[in-house]
């Protein structure tokens, strides 16, 4: 049975790209002078992610307290002091993998922290629609082998998910027609992709999906439907229609758009087959959400308050909490290096991040601890965009000398317990 053992050498197994939630694993990565070269793909997102890592030298990065280098023990102790002093901490960023999330949940329970990822707004567009009405979704392998019509709602995902069409089998011998449903005012696409059609609508996306839903449900809409009426007919005629959308591209109250899309899928499924394909949840957001959900029974934007486990999908929005100064300390996690920098605030901040974020964490009441990146300096697991596949991440190198997020969080939890004892 040894043959089915995963190989222990980090280089032998396929590399899973951790920088977007498609988690592609069919590309090569080769060490070259000063960095990593991607082979087999032109993906700009993967290249940009890789560009933040050196293939040879270990990153020179030390923990810092108030912008001054220190040893790891001192940094942990300082972080523990900041958390101990906090009455309501916020855990933000959440750029980590399953192991990091597991360790973070323990700390969240001990501190009563609220956790909300970067991209929490986009994540909760999907979750709130799910909580209200449910959904019917599909996965990349299904789309690749089954879909004959893929409607990209609002935007063409390729701009942010460069391998999207390839992962859907488009241009790889697949026969799916791809339609982009976008506002009339949207700029024309840079490079015309063969076979790609654009259906434009006037007004906003809320109205457009509502109209499309009405057409699909065969309600009387008079002459108002236009191109959307034709698209509805094609959805009905499709053997397996897929509605793909990018949660991060949706406007405020985007849950309503997702709900309309789910309604369209539901209507179609009464007679033919269709499913939704949400794109999003990268940089650890959907992964940390999944882990917190299975451990506690409730998703992110939950806290272990003195009265019990409180889930507040609107009130516990990190941006709102920071703007309202409803929290008094911030633990920020950004281990992939592709995340936005930690927010600027005068609240005490603890940042566990890629070494590049050190410069953004200076000044009083700050602790910075550089951490290893899952899929580069350490192994790990992330959920793919479709939520059903938990992809293994292999380390490209295992000598970067940086601790994992989980290592740091476990030590931090121990330090808190030590302080409480």
């Amino acid at each position: 049975m040894s043959a089915l053992e995963s190989s222990s050498g980090p280089a032998a197994a396929p590399w899973t790209c951790p920088f977007c939630p498609l988690l592609c694993d069919s590309f090569g990565v080769a060490a070259e002078a000063g960095g990593w070269a991607l082979t087999g793909s032109e993906c700009a997102r993967a290249r940009s992610g890789l560009s933040r890592f050196s293939s040879a030298a270990a990153p020179v990065a030390h923990p810092q307290i108030d912008g001054v280098d220190c040893d790891p023990e001192a940094a942990i102790a300082a972080a523990a002091r900041l958390l101990t002093a906090s009455r309501q901490p916020l855990f933000g960023g959440l750029g980590t993998d399953v192991t990091g999330a597991r360790a973070l949940y323990t700390l969240a329970c001990r501190t009563g922290a609220i956790a909300d990822p970067t991209g929490g707004t986009a994540l909760f567009h999907g979750l709130r629609a799910l909580q209200d009405r449910g959904a019917f979704t599909t996965t990349l392998a299904e789309v690749r082998t089954r879909a004959d019509l893929i409607v990209c709602v609002g935007s063409l995902p390729s701009e942010r998910y460069p391998e999207f069409l390839r992962r859907c089998g488009v241009g790889e011998g697949g026969t799916a027609q791809v339609v982009v449903l976008q506002p009339a005012a949207a700029p024309a696409m840079d490079s015309a992709i063969e076979g790609l059609e654009v259906v434009r609508f006037d007004g906003d996306l809320f109205d457009a999906v509502a109209m499309l839903a009405a057409c699909v449900a065969k309600r009387a809409v008079g002459d108002a439907a236009g191109a959307l009426g034709l698209l509805a007919a094609r959805l009905h005629a499709a053997r397996y229609a897929v509605l793909a959308y990018e949660t991060a591209q949706l406007p405020a109250q985007g849950a309503l758009i997702i709900e309309a899309l789910n309604r369209i899928v539901s209507t179609l499924n009464q007679r033919s087959r269709a499913a939704a394909l949400p794109l999003g949840g990268g940089d650890g957001a959907s992964t940390v959400n999944a882990v917190f959900t299975w451990l506690s029974g409730l998703p992110l934007r939950t806290r272990a308050a003195p009265t019990g486990l409180e889930h507040e999908p609107l009130r516990f929005d990190a941006n709102r909490l920071l703007a309202d100064r409803a929290v008094d300390a911030l633990l920020w996690i950004a281990s992939f290096g592709t995340e936005p920098a930690p927010p600027i605030t005068d609240l005490p901040r603890i940042v566990l991040g890629h070494p590049r974020f050190a410069a953004a964490v200076q000044g009083p009441a700050t602790v910075f601890i550089p951490v290893s990146t899952p899929g580069i300096g350490s192994a790990g697991h992330l959920f793919r965009t479709d939520g059903s596949v938990l992809m293994p991440l292999r380390a490209l190198r295992d000598d970067d000398g940086l601790p994992t997020v989980a290592d740091v969080l476990k030590r931090l939890t121990q330090a808190l317990q030590g302080a409480a004892a």
């Binding site: 049975m1 043959a3 089915l4 053992e5 995963s6 222990s8 197994a13 396929p14 899973t16 694993d25 069919s26 399953v98 597991r102 949940y105 323990t106 329970c109 979750l127 799910l130 909580q131 209200d132 449910g134 959904a135 019917f136 979704t137 599909t138 996965t139 990349l140 392998a141 299904e142 690749r144 082998t145 089954r146 499924n269 087959r273 499913a275 999944a290 882990v291 959900t293 299975w294 451990l295 506690s296 029974g297 409730l298 272990a304 308050a305 003195p306 009265t307 019990g308 486990l309 409180e310 889930h311 697991h381 959920f383 793919r384 939520g387 059903s388 596949v389 938990l390 992809m391 293994p392």
Partner: protein
Amino acid sequence: MTTTLRLRGGRVIDPTNGVDAELRDVHVRDGRIVALAPGEAATEEIDVSGCIVMAGGIDMHTHIGGGKVNLARLLMPELQRAGPNPIALPSNPLELASCGGCTPGTLATGYRYVEMGYTAAFEPAMMACNARHTHMEMGDTPILDHGAYVMLGNDELFLEMLSRGADFQHIRDYVGWTINAAKAMGVKVVNPGGISAFKFNQRKLDVDENHVHWQVTPRQVVHTLAKALCELGVPHPLHIHGSNLGVAGNIQSTLETINALEGLPAHLTHVQFHAYGTEGPKKFSSAALQLAEAVNAHANVSIDVGQIMFGQTVTASGDTMRQHAQAGLASPRKWIGADIECEAGCGVVPFRYRDQNFVNALQWAIGLEIFLLVNDPWRVVLTTDHPNGGPFTSYPHLIRLLMDRSFRAEQLAKLHPDVAANAALNSITRELSLYEIAIMTRAAPARLLGLKDRGHLGVGAAADIAVYREDADREAMFTTPAYVFKDGTLVARAGRITAVPVGGTHFVAPDYDRGIETLLRKHHAAQGGVNFDQLAIGHDELCGCCNGGRLLPAACFETTS
């Protein structure tokens, strides 16, 4: 110094070893049941007089982890409140906050099972593509040992191989490879061929009906998989969620599925949902008797019941075809479905079983009838198909229903009047004994899974022990055992968790011809979503997924082929 614990003065019920309520001491050393040499003394002693001592409970069919379970949690946050208030944090510092009920967090799942005297639980519906996630959740289910059955029979590759008449050996090797790759304890087939058929817009699939695309029947799927597992020597035979779940008249499908086995061993799961007739004014009737007669007549078949309990729950199933068909009954009105990776699907439909609803009341009666009409308790396992029939926390209530005829009659009388008046259950006088309950909740599941050192208290067995204080109210007795030991460690005392060790992972590793990998590699390159070389979970990775718990490979039996 090695300590030896003596549990003194309890009445031991250990059906595997033929022990029925004998007054005897049980000794534990290094996590195992031991016999003391003459003159040897125990170093610790617990007085368990007035108590019944059994092996720890084993739930062999409970949806405790993986994709659809987590979707159920995401769908139903409103269940995680106590009225207008949040659910209180645990008072026990050993516990982390985790909600309970019918969509519990993994942490609460572990705590609540253990407090009830259970020490192992098996997730029955693991998708190969979701295996890492499933193992992660089970690894985050504290204390309990765990394992999972991987789903086959709706994956396009299997159906394609069957359709083109591929060499059986190749199909068998593919099954063997999948079990190894997913680190599974067995194989489950769900609505054989039907989940795939739904992706091709087929809405119904009878046992001898062709899959609209692959032109194979559920009969072929079931027989092929059952035979493959037999030849691979996998101890737990094919775990079957049959065709037409929940459909009036589906007893026919269930009996045909048993026939499709042609004597091969198999386990029919949550049979309550598959034992419906079409008699009576509402064209919905109990077929428990027909089912029980078939089970009694087919020694190759074992079952678990999937008893329903009244109240709110969530049904989480791989059976997209049937869940889509039932989604109109969702309460509250929302549901989740998914087509998944050309291999499986899932459907999560919240449901409230109502005692004044004729169908629900009859479902309740049918489940109990099955328990009481099947003669051989070694082939019946106590389940509610958590959470589909009701949460596992209702087991003590279910045990009382089975053991206490007057209590049962009292409950039956409260139901929908047609059921209360006419159910065959009225005339069944059987009351299960503690010995039979011990079989259905630990000895039989261990045997059906091939766990030689679990489910009993013989010398050498793992010291997974539940000590229940004798109480005529069996519900109270089984709700709160006085002591629960996991591998010899006291993990719960009088309903309070006392230690939180990480449980172990059961799996099997059957031999197969690795030549099949050439075909699999080609298939995944052409149609998969993941690089073939990433699919198999290695031992080190499994250990990490499972939070560092012990790996517990179960032995396969010798095969003649």
